[in-house]
């Protein structure tokens, strides 16, 4: 409490006679001092590396020795690189697995949990079920990958054994090792990981919806489906945007599950941009090429975010205009 910084004291002294009550302390330059530690760290850890990365994307560099500047070579090479296109195609698969499917299922689950289970079986039942669906979300992705990699083992794996025990031997296979099933398997795992996120957020969102709306609809004889479409979806649209945006960004950045489960393979069947960049940075010593991949990935994420936010702003305007 006696700890005090000199500039602070000076500011307090100079400010007191100057202002007359209203807006005391507003816009005082002293506040800039509080941005110094954060600003320095931010510059060193985010801004400088980010700019360096963009710079390196115009170079050919193995990580040591001379940097040779090659202009747009990396980018033109990328556009004719099949792996590059495969990895971004797989990003679309990641969006389906982490955004589209979980959001759709999550909406239904949250609405049923809130509107039917919570009301007919008590809030306790609803929150217990919610916790069960949320559990995979708290696992480190690497650990989730180990769990599933183990379940999907071709020999003696739990899934294959389960299929055999119910007489579906024909379906048993090398889930992660076969190029035809590797991507769908990874997608299914990501759905499992991701589903709790929209459920929890949508249920929280439903709590702020006026219960009278539901009650009135119910009295009017609207069934669950009608209430779902006419009340639930429009009311929690802001949260749907938040979930869709954050999950889309996360799905563009998927790395851990790929590293642990498939290493991008078989072939490039499950390669994704971040793993593709990692390979060039740390396995093939193509730093410039890796930087170009990372730069394009960043660009796509920013463009997607801008589109999302635009879309959200427009739909909000439409709402208030109505």
């Amino acid at each position: 409490m006696t700890v005090n910084t000199a500039p602070d004291k000076a500011a307090t002294r100079s400010r007191r006679p100057a202002r007359n009550g209203a807006g005391i302390g507003e816009r005082s330059p002293v506040y800039w001092l509080y941005l110094i530690p954060g600003g320095l760290l931010f510059t060193a850890v985010i801004v400088v590396p980010f700019v360096m990365n963009i710079g390196l994307s115009f170079a050919d560099w193995p990580g040591v020795g001379e940097i040779s500047w090659t202009g747009l070579d990396n980018y033109s090479r990328l556009f004719s690189d099949d792996t590059f296109w495969t990895s971004f195609r797989n990003s679309v698969a990641m969006i389906i697995a982490m955004v589209v499917v979980p959001t759709a299922i999550g909406l239904v689950l949250a609405s049923v949990l809130f509107d039917i289970i919570g009301k007919r079986f008590g809030a306790r039942t609803a929150s217990t079920l919610r916790a069960m669906y949320y559990l995979p979300q708290i696992l480190p992705v690497a650990v989730a990958g180990i769990v599933w990699g183990w379940i999907l083992r071709p020999q003696n794996g739990a899934l294959n054994t389960l299929l055999e025990s119910v007489g579906l031997d024909g379906l048993a296979q090398n889930w992660l090792g076969d190029p035809n099933t590797a991507l769908p398997s990874v997608m299914a795992i990501l759905v499992w990981v991701q589903i709790g996120y929209p459920v929890v957020i949508f249920m929280a969102a439903l709590q702020r919806v006026d219960p009278d709306l539901y009650e009135a609809a119910e009295l009017d004889g609207a069934g669950w489906w009608r209430r779902f479409r006419a009340i639930t979806i429009p009311q929690i649209r802001p949260e749907m945007f938040v979930v869709a945006l954050t999950a889309t960004i996360a799905s563009m950045k998927v790395f851990g599950p790929i590293f642990v489960l498939t290493g991008g393979g078989p072939g490039d069947a499950t390669n994704v941009p971040s793993y593709f960049a990692y390979q060039h940075f740390f396995e093939r010593a193509n730093v410039g090429y890796g930087s170009a991949i990372a730069t394009i990935l960043t660009l796509i994420i920013i463009v997607l975010s801008v589109i999302f936010i635009r879309f959200q702003a427009r739909s909000e305007r439409k709402d208030t205009g109505r």
């Binding site: 500011a11 985010i46 360096m52 079986f121 480190p140 389960l162 971040s274 990935l297």
Partner: protein, 297 residues
């Protein structure tokens, strides 16, 4: 216990017949819905169940009767073996140390930033907040090589300090954004009253703003801790020696090498799952409160 509250038993407002038929119909349907949801929830938990089932099996038991049978004996040696082989206690400590330091430091940095942006309303605060928001979206791949290079140059490569610094900044980018918007609605009268009492900015921060925002700050501490605990990519690149790795990195590398047999993998997975479940049980309240706060802001 199960307070079936706020479930108005379909008030018999008009025509008794349709109302009753409706109730009967819903009565059956809701049990079906409940059964479906429970089945779904159990399917979600299936992987955890299989892991627990096999973590305590002898390798022979596993190869004889497969992964779905009950263990014939309670076999702890596999897990103890694995614990000692990878020095799991040390990995646990590394994870706690890194995630704990980041949680505290990142909250302090966020608090300072947000004090200037949300309460101080410094010029250009909107663009600064947008900058933090963009930083939060950036893929770590777009920073990793320069970070790796710089860390090498300054002798921080393969140190936990480097990971702590990096995640302090990354987490505080989100914390700044969230706290700044929380602080922008901070009651002005209180700030003005303390300023009139002669409190300096530093004193206002610690004696007024800090205590009043403690609930939000504690949510952030929990978030930062768990997020950092779960991080994989940057620790994987930065922590190459075994004795410095965190739990996810150590397990991920082992799995990537595919050197573990089935029961060991299962024991390893269980060891990775347990801390997460402990956090979950501890912090469930805070988490769901915080998640909803994060969603609306």
């Amino acid at each position: 216990m199960t307070t079936t509250q706020a479930a108005p038993p379909t008030t018999p407002n008009n025509g008794a017949l349709p109302a009753r038929r409706d109730r009967h119909h819903r009565g059956a349907a809701r049990w079906i819905v409940l059964a479906l949801l429970v089945a779904g929830a159990l399917a979600m938990l299936f992987p955890f169940a299989v892991i627990v089932l096999n973590a305590f099996k002898t390798p022979a038991d596993y190869s004889n009767s497969g992964p779905l049978s009950l263990p014939t004996s309670f076999y702890l040696d596999g897990m103890i073996d694995f614990w000692n082989r990878v020095n799991f206690g040390q990995k646990l400590w590394n994870s706690i140390m890194i995630a704990g330091s980041v949680a505290i430091l990142a909250v302090i940095v966020s608090l300072f930033n947000a004090y200037a942006l949300g309460i101080g309303r410094v010029k250009g605060r909107l663009s600064i907040i947008v900058l933090f928001l963009i930083a939060n979206m950036l893929p770590h791949e777009a920073l990793i090589y320069p970070l790796f290079y710089i860390a090498n140059q300054v002798g921080l490569y393969n140190t936990q300090l480097a990971v702590i610094i990096i995640f302090t900044v990354i987490q505080s980018a989100f914390g700044t954004y969230l706290l700044a918007s929380v602080f922008s609605t901070f009651p002005k009268e209180i700030l003005e009253a303390s300023a009139l009492d002669g409190a300096s900015k530093w004193q206002i921060l610690w004696r007024v703003v800090f205590p009043m925002s403690r609930p939000t700050l504690s949510v952030l501490v929990v978030f930062f801790f768990i997020w950092t605990w779960n991080e994989f990519f940057i620790p994987l690149v930065f922590l190459i020696s075994n004795d410095k790795q965190t739990i996810p990195v150590a397990l991920g590398v082992l799995q990537g090498d595919r050197l573990m047999d089935a029961t060991t993998t299962s024991a390893a997975a269980l060891l990775g799952v347990i801390p997460a479940i402990i956090f979950f049980l501890f912090f469930q309240r805070t988490l769901s409160r915080g998640i909803s706060a994060g969603a609306v802001k």
